[in-house]
């Protein structure tokens, strides 16, 4: 019987012929934790009474969610991570290095065929690199650090066949928002998604990560893509030297195959307070906004900042809008400075904050006020997500956020796009 990408990766890592529904104990290649989850993982690791981590070279921790620390409580938790790094010899990316889901691929920790667990729900991002990567909790993370293994229930897969090429003005973010609207917030719970077709092949690796990143917003355990030459070149450029491509078998068994033609997709917007509350831009255009955010593990990469800058360059952000930009990593920040992207954004009126999660999760860096509307490139718009449950969050592409920041209301970016 043919196998999906997930079935093949979990078989290879468990030494067992695994199919959907089986429970396997698998070796993990990389383990990641961030500052919201690592402290609890360290606590659980202590409770396990294990002296040393299984393999320090496989473990990376990232201080990105509240970085730099906004208060002494967080500072103490950050120091717990720093001490753990010294004690166990793991990798630690401290404040200003960037968002965990940018650093793992960018610094060569992940590639084709790998099995990665991260104590962060958007760990599914690395599916764009043909890895099986999934979010776990802190205790699972501690168990993986202690034993090098974790148990998994092999998920069935939904395959998305995406035909056509995205039209000018519609981006990877619009595509994934559209798909989430179609299958709903729990449409893929306990399942994996495979995204395939012409629409995916045409995208850059940055853009593919935007799509894999949001697999969890349809409930999926992972969102995977097939490897191609573009990916191989990207991995080499980012210092990842293995090449172990995993393709699904032609006769792989899918739970279902969904086909969409994306060649006429309009820009999409997710309205408050759920990610699957998605409308085409024409239905929400004109909604006033007070804050705009460009960044996060979904859309804070170089390509995203460049798209925003292409719209904002030589123009001014609306006087009643605050535009906050958080580059996804130090490297992205440096590259965006070198090519003039950052100056275009800052001249237009953007406030640039430390590479990291920025205001995404409401710990600092731009908490909205009561009754305000925010348009953001992030992946979640839950009530209270950005630290104020009386604010309203709309999710969109960097282009839509940039165009909206100029107009002071949700705005179709297509008039600005020349391609």
């Amino acid at each position: 019987m043919g196998k999906t990408i997930v079935e093949k990766i979990l078989s290879a890592h468990s030494g067992q012929d695994a199919s959907a529904g089986d429970i396997v104990l698998a070796e993990v290649d990389q383990i990641m934790g961030q500052d919201g989850t690592s402290p609890l993982a360290i606590k659980a690791f202590r409770e396990m009474e294990v002296e040393r981590v299984y393999d320090p070279t496989k473990i990376a921790m990232v201080i990105d969610h509240s970085a730099p620390s906004p208060n002494e409580g967080v500072s103490a938790l950050h120091n717990l991570m720093r001490e753990f790094k010294k004690e166990q010899g793991i990798t630690l990316y401290d404040i200003g290095e960037g968002v965990c889901h940018q650093l793992m691929p960018e610094r060569g920790h992940v590639g084709t065929g790998d099995l990665v667990v991260g104590a962060d729900s958007h760990t599914c991002t690395y599916g764009a690199l043909n890895a099986f990567s999934t979010g776990v909790g802190s205790t699972d993370l501690a168990a993986a650090m202690a034993t090098g293994k974790l148990w998994f229930k092999v998920p069935p897969t939904i395959r998305f066949e995406l035909k056509g090429i995205l039209p000018a003005g519609a981006f990877a973010k619009d595509l994934i928002l559209f798909l989430i609207g179609q299958v709903t917030a729990d449409g893929a719970t306990y399942k994996a998604a495979e995204y395939a077709g012409e629409a995916i092949s045409a995208l850059s690796i940055d853009a593919r990560m935007t799509i894999a990143n949001m697999a969890i917003e349809m409930g999926a355990k992972a969102g995977l893509m097939e490897p191609d030459e573009k990916l191989r070149e990207w991995l080499v450029a980012h210092g990842y030297t293995k090449w172990n491509p995993v393709y699904p078998d032609p006769d792989a068994v899918y739970e279902k195959v969904l086909e969409y033609d994306v060649s006429e997709l309009e820009p999409q917007v997710a309205k408050p307070h759920t990610v699957d509350n998605v409308s085409p831009i024409s239905e929400v255009a004109g909604t006033p906004i007070q804050q705009a955010v460009i960044g996060t593990c979904t859309n804070g990469r170089l390509e995203d900042l460049r798209i925003a800058a292409s719209i904002l360059k030589g123009r001014k952000v609306h006087p009643e809008v605050r535009l906050i930009v958080a580059p996804a990593s130090r490297r992205v920040f440096l590259e965006a400075m070198a090519d003039g992207t950052i100056s275009a954004l800052v001249e237009a009126g953007a406030a640039v904050v430390t590479p990291g999660c920025g205001p995404c999760v409401g710990t600092h860096n731009g908490v909205p006020s009561d009754g305000e509307n925010v348009i953001s490139t992030a992946n979640r718009n839950f009530k209270g997500r950005m630290g104020n449950s009386n604010a309203y969050i709309y999710l969109a592409s960097p282009a839509t956020v940039a165009a909206s920041a100029l107009a002071g209301e949700i705005t179709d970016p297509r008039p600005y796009i020349t391609r």
Binding site: P39, G137, D140, A143, T147, K153, D186, T189
Partner: protein, 167 residues
């Protein structure tokens, strides 16, 4: 183990930001303190209303959103005995078992706020005493029963010096 308590009813898609807001989760490892804010955005008075041993009862996709283990822990430290929902988000479900919070996947459509319930975890049976109805729950995978019986994953690893999931 048989648990008995009152139902606190919530709807579908209760996400981890509602269970415990990100603005609290990063501040502390003191779960008692986090527990005081549990479900605050959906019901500001929730923590004060709960009596030890009560249940959270919800619709579909309970616990969707982030992987924060503070979510099941805050519920557990608010003295909630178990969460009953029609379905759970995957990471939350795992985290709950790993931290020793019982979760029961069961058709909750006929359970109302304030109903008196009796939950038999090992048999997977829920009795709605108020309505005199019995509902059968979906059983936990055997791997999870092992972990729950060991008092959570940290204890499981400590006791067995690693994973011991084979039958």
């Amino acid at each position: 183990m048989i648990l008995r308590g009152r139902a606190h009813r919530f709807g579908d898609d209760v996400n981890t930001d509602y269970i415990i807001s990100g603005k609290y989760k990063f501040k502390t490892l003191d779960m008692k303190e986090l527990a005081m804010h549990v479900m605050e955005d959906l019901d500001p008075d929730f923590y004060n209303k709960v009596r030890p041993g009560d249940f959270i009862v919800a619709g579909r996709n309970f616990g969707c959103g982030s992987s924060r283990e503070q979510a099941p822990l805050a519920i557990k430290y608010a003295d909630i005995a178990a969460v009953l929902a029609s379905s759970f988000a995957r990471i939350f479900y795992r985290n709950a078992i790993n931290t020793g919070l019982p979760v029961v996947e069961v058709d909750t459509s006929r359970i109302e706020d304030g109903d008196e319930l009796e939950v038999d975890l090992s048999k997977g049976k829920v009795v709605n005493i108020t309505r005199d109805e019995e509902i059968t729950a979906k059983p936990l995978p055997s791997v999870m029963i092992k972990i729950l019986n060991d008092g959570g994953l940290a204890n499981h690893i400590k006791k067995n010096k690693g994973f011991a999931l084979e039958d």
